[in-house]
């Protein structure tokens, strides 16, 4: 059973709920090494996405992702807007016309998301950004395909890798974004962008746990 279009909608709704619940937490993280706006920005973006859902919930997955990307791009702002906007726009290009996603489909989409984010933001692994959570997540999916894992197991492994990547940002000195102005003072704090990325992938694993 692949991930169906309606399952994607369920995921997005769950992401919006998760962002709202974690808005203060993301703000706290962004206060330590940023300007305290990540929680509010993401919440505003996903509220706008929820408002858009009724008009796209009968469309293909690619259109849904593309619309989410455009919406986030025009509402989130900051660095998160272009990066998460690019994430969904690239995923949308890869999944154009699809009404369901196999594990290879989801993996290709997320890999395109990662490439887009890297192209736009020019971050590398170890710069203390969302790339530090997204890269291991994509690698875990590719490994899961090689190991013939069902989708739900692959998603668990992917979320777990993202979590480890997120936690691995704690000791890093930031080399990108506002945190980089703090120099050594950015070490010892978890990156907010890596955190929101992990939470989105954790929710995907939870939402799609029946898919195989």
């Amino acid at each position: 059973m692949p991930v169906y279009r309606d399952d994607v909608i369920t995921w997005i709704k769950a992401v919006a709920g998760m962002i709202s619940e974690n808005s203060s937490y993301l703000t706290e993280l962004d206060s330590a090494i940023g300007d305290a706006d990540h929680g509010a920005n993401m919440e505003r973006g996903f509220k706008a996405v929820i408002n858009k859902l009724p008009e796209i919930s009968d469309k293909d997955i690619g259109t849904i992702f593309k619309t989410i990307g455009m919406t986030l791009l025009s509402t989130v702002g900051g660095a998160g807007g272009p990066l998460y906007g690019t994430w969904f726009l690239q995923a949308g290009l890869k999944t154009a016309g699809k009404m369901e996603l196999t594990l290879p489909d989801w993996t290709e989409a997320l890999e395109a998301s990662l490439s887009g984010v890297v192209m736009r933001g020019k971050a590398e692994l170890g710069d203390k950004t969302m790339v530090d959570a997204l890269t291991p997540a994509v690698n875990a999916l590719k490994q899961a395909i090689q190991d013939n894992q069902p989708i739900n197991a692959a998603l668990e492994l992917s979320a777990d890798s993202a979590k480890k990547g997120m936690e691995a940002t704690i000791p890093l000195v930031a080399r990108k974004g506002r945190a980089s102005y703090l120099g050594e003072r950015s070490a010892g704090h978890q990156d907010p962008g890596a955190t929101s990325t992990y939470l989105m992938l954790k929710v995907a694993a939870e939402t799609w746990k029946e898919s195989i």
Partner: protein
């Protein structure tokens, strides 16, 4: 933290609604997407100048919209870069047919959002040049950071470029003025307190009563170094030394000195800073030929100051002195 606001999520909207009415002689405000536009624009045959950034720095940038300075300014959420659609619509609205200059402060979000907007505008056939300001000497420009922040020089560049555009100079010429300001200007700031972002409801960082942050930015993020509070004169020395030695400024250079208030520091204290800054400049053989003192680039209610030096040549002096008619800067008109 006490604030004069209603609901945090309405702060920017309510401020923009007021700006539209309070300065209706000079500005119009477009909503969804949000941008502030000069009321008599677009001016045909004149290069349009757009800037923008997070809200919370007022009067930067919306207060600098008007004759002789910006054609449009795009306000994001508090301390959040505005989105590409804002800059795209502002670019189209300010288009006088001879190109548009984007003045972009060097922050990761601003760079990406303005880049995407410029791509979209060019796709619609509008010629766009972008110049990035990166004058803050507090952050080392290296492969290991996002580069120097764009701060006080941005305000000065907006004035100089605005005057150049008003003279009907070409897009390349106006952009060259911006590049000159970028290469001749350096800044550094410090803070006595943090600030409180409306949504967060508490200061972004805790600064004990007897401590200060040196090398502060304008978005409430901590600076490079925290240390015990010193006197105004000692603080001024700590800011002026890295500024002067960066390019470096040399004996005989004519400079504009801009002592900026970050919002929570009263003008009387800014003048005390100016006094020592001027003395240090003169000691290095610099000639301070123009001044700007006041809260022009704020960080909500952060107490603190930033100093900007800008080396001026004959053309820049003429551009600085040229008439300007905006809510925040007004002379000769």
């Amino acid at each position: 933290m006490k604030k004069l606001i209603n609901k945090p999520e309405n702060v920017v909207r309510e401020a923009l609604e007021a700006i539209a009415i309070a300065h209706s002689d000079l500005l119009t405000v477009h909503f969804d997407p949000n941008y502030i536009m000069r009321a008599d624009g677009p001016i045909k045959g004149k290069v349009g100048i757009i800037s923008g950034g997070g809200s919370g720095h007022e009067p930067m940038h919306g207060g600098f919209v008007g004759m002789g300075m910006l054609d449009a300014a795009c306000p994001g959420a508090v301390f959040t870069s505005p989105t590409p659609d804002q800059m795209l619509e502002a670019t189209k609205a300010a288009n006088g047919g001879v190109g548009i200059l984007h003045i972009v402060k060097n922050y990761t979000g601003d760079i990406m959002n303005f880049e995407m907007a410029a791509e979209l505008a060019r796709a619609e056939g509008i010629e766009v040049e972008a110049v990035v300001t990166d004058d803050d000497v507090a952050v080392k420009d290296s492969l290991y950071t996002a580069g120097r922040r764009g701060v006080g020089v941005t305000v000065l560049a907006e004035k100089l470029c605005g005057a150049a555009a008003e003279q009907k100079r070409s897009l390349k010429e106006v952009a060259d003025v911006c590049r000159k300001a970028k290469s001749f200007g350096r800044s550094m700031g410090m803070a006595l307190t943090s600030c409180t972002v409306p949504h967060a409801g508490k200061p972004t960082f805790d600064l004990p009563e007897d401590q200060m942050e040196i090398g502060i930015g304008i978005h409430g993020e901590p600076g490079r170094v925290r240390m015990p509070l010193k006197s105004a004169d000692e603080i001024t020395e700590m800011l002026m030394e890295p500024i002067i030695s960066d390019i470096p400024y040399k004996a005989g250079d004519e400079v504009l000195m801009f002592v900026n208030g970050l919002g929570g520091t009263p003008p009387i204290e800014l003048y005390i800073i100016y006094r020592k800054a001027h003395e240090i400049a003169v000691k290095h053989g610099l000639k301070v030929v123009r001044s700007l003192v006041g809260p022009y680039m704020t960080s909500l209610e952060m107490a603190g100051t930033s100093i900007t030096l800008l080396k001026m040549d004959a053309d820049m002096l003429k551009l600085w002195d040229a008439p300007v008619k905006t809510p925040a800067l007004r002379w000769g008109a």
